[in-house]
Symmetry: C2
Subunit: 348 residues, 2 copies
DNA sequence: ATTGGCGGCTAAATCGTTTTAGATATTTAC
DNA sequence: GTAAATATCTAAAACGATTTAGCCGCCAAT
């Protein structure tokens, strides 16, 4: 019942704790401990089922073999995928992951950072909701291993792994333009200063602007997203002021838009086109299938992870505020295709 | 830079560590510490930004304010939702969550349990992939706070929060029967002994059995799910041996089935009906919308959490192996409706 | 015979808390 | 005026590991 400690093993074998510790940590060779003693210790370790108490180890070494992951909502498919892939990378190197969701609250984000640090996590991967990240900057300056993922700060030197959101927005806009859409609306998120969101919108709007088309941008608060999107369409239908295309800046907004269209009997893409950022598993077989920007999630994770590793092991290779920006991929599907009048649309 | 410790504060104020500790932990009153001293200490705590080192605290108290969550795959929408809701419940009470995905590997599950215990987690919520959970039983017997969620062991007394999977399977089968389907196939998961899966299948099969109809059950290995489902339909199409209805036992299988049908130009529900266990956000607005069983995720989490709390605080109220089984809800939608020949099906 | 080096091991300090068992001074009781 | 009670506060021992500094015996070299 009671866990067996280093001391227990030392007593059983009749050696010092030091010896046992060295053997268990594989440092026997380096400290000239005889193979015989080594074997005796390992035998006892196995026999009594000894496992080092990580807490004690952390206290002593200041390392915990734990990484923190902070995102806005771990139940969002995108962040859940990040979590899983990061977990696997971490596992490979003997780390575990402790997670926290902020619901875009800066206060909670700061609290989580503080708590994770007090837990001696060896590093934190963060998708920040902040606007002026002075605390983050200080944290990095102080040498704490921190990597931003998905969202970064263009003017603040913090190692980051992000995708090229601006180009993503541009690709979607250009595609809509090519398809002949001229009256687009962007459904975006509050807070709107978040880099990923802002850049997607910026890229999208700029392309239409170049074509002398003004784009309306609606910022939807994070927490009442589904209702607000439905309200948006209710209003627009009532005002007979419907856009001919919608750009949903993330997967939640895309899903909410599809739901709203269903409720209002708006047919995609006949009545309105839909494009969005992020992939969801059903986008490629839904009817209609959904035009979207695919993010290289696996690469995002492995880059973020190696940036973090670089800081933890302090190999000095990485520049202080390196931002790795990865390309995205436009997947053209049915939801943004101008079609004649084919209600029972089927893919070829 | 360097974190400020209890000792630092004690020295600054000119009192003992004990005093500071008591004040910080709000035990000043109980130990008769004067209000004046109390204020001085708190002032210093704030001034120097002191935060207790959780690691040291854990080592001393044996509690870590951390809970472990172990599931098969945190990126699965169902488990991601569980994680988020549990995280929120935990946060309320000052806990953080450390997570682990097993990919249904019993070995990894056991390793994670061991690791989490070495990290002094105060309790673990587990969706187990085991068949003979002797270790789990011993863990619970030893007094370690462990709660099973989603999957349980009918013959082993471990506190559990699950839904009534059997009834869920029955409801789906009865519905299909009523709709006139007579040739169903179950797409299930390997390992098939997992209680949730087994009971869903059992309920489903038994209803058809009562109607003298044999149900074929296909167990798909967890890791190559998408391809295997597609292969299943390829084979059946080739053999001209198509079922008239498919029961997908979880959300992954439902999605894989939809994808396979799309690839093979199989039209749901005209060519084949689809019902499944689990809700996904798009099930109620997809075309067709998908008949499914909704699990009471929020209740599942709050029950699991309070079972765990009960064990942690050891209030002795809970019976040793209490299994809480919650009802599920059948949501009949378009994917299982016998319709005439309406390709361009639309909801009313 | 002293010195130095080395192989094999250990005692004790340390990490930052919590908690136990008092210490000290001041009141109160009688 | 002494003993007991009370009000504040503290020293020191944990918790279970890691790590520093160094002990002890033996051999080789000078």
């Amino acid at each position: 019942m009671k866990k067996v400690t280093l001391n227990d093993i030392a007593k059983k074998v009749g050696v010092s704790k030091t010896l046992v510790s060295l053997v268990v940590n594989g440092k026997a060779r380096g400290y000239g401990i005889s193979g015989q003693t080594c074997d005796k210790v390992m035998a006892a370790v196995r026999a009594y089922g000894y496992n080092p108490n990580q807490t004690a180890r952390s206290l002593r070494t200041g390392m915990s073999n734990t990484l923190g992951l902070i995102v806005s909502d771990i139940s969002n498919n995108f962040y859940a995928s990040l979590a899983r892939q990061l977990e696997d990378l971490a596992w490979e190197l003997g780390y575990n992951m402790i997670i926290g969701s902020t619901d875009e609250s800066v206060g909670k984000e700061l609290k989580l950072l503080e708590i994770f640090r007090n837990r001696q996590v060896d590093g934190i991967i963060l998708s920040s909701s902040q606007q002026n990240p002075t605390e983050l900057e200080n944290l990095v300056k102080s040498g704490f291993p921190l990597v931003l993922i998905d969202r970064y700060f263009p003017t603040v030197p913090i190692p980051s792994a992000v995708v090229n959101n601006k180009v993503g927005g541009e690709l979607l806009a250009q595609h809509l333009l090519n398809q002949g859409f001229r009256n687009p609306v962007v459904l975006s998120l509050t807070p709107s200063y978040i880099s990923s969101v802002a850049e997607r919108v910026e890229g999208f709007v700029s392309v239409f602007e170049n074509a002398a088309i003004h784009t309306e941008v609606h910022n939807i608060p994070f927490l009442c997203l589904v209702d607000m999107v439905e309200d948006f369409f209710t209003t627009r239908l009532h005002d007979k002021n419907m856009p001919d295309a919608v750009f949903a800046v993330n997967n939640n907004l895309a899903t909410a838009t599809l739901r709203a269209c269903h409720v209002h009997n708006i047919v995609i893409p006949k009545d309105i086109a839909l494009v969005c950022f992020d992939e969801l598993p059903y986008f490629d077989f839904s009817k209609p299938s959904i035009t979207s920007i695919r993010q290289p999630v696996a690469e995002l994770c492995s880059v973020a992870f190696s940036l973090l590793q670089g800081q933890i092991t302090n190999n000095g290779e990485t520049k202080p505020g390196h931002v790795e920006m990865m390309p995205v991929e436009l997947l053209v599907r049915e939801s943004s295709t101008q079609i004649s009048d084919n209600n029972g649309w089927r893919s070829p």
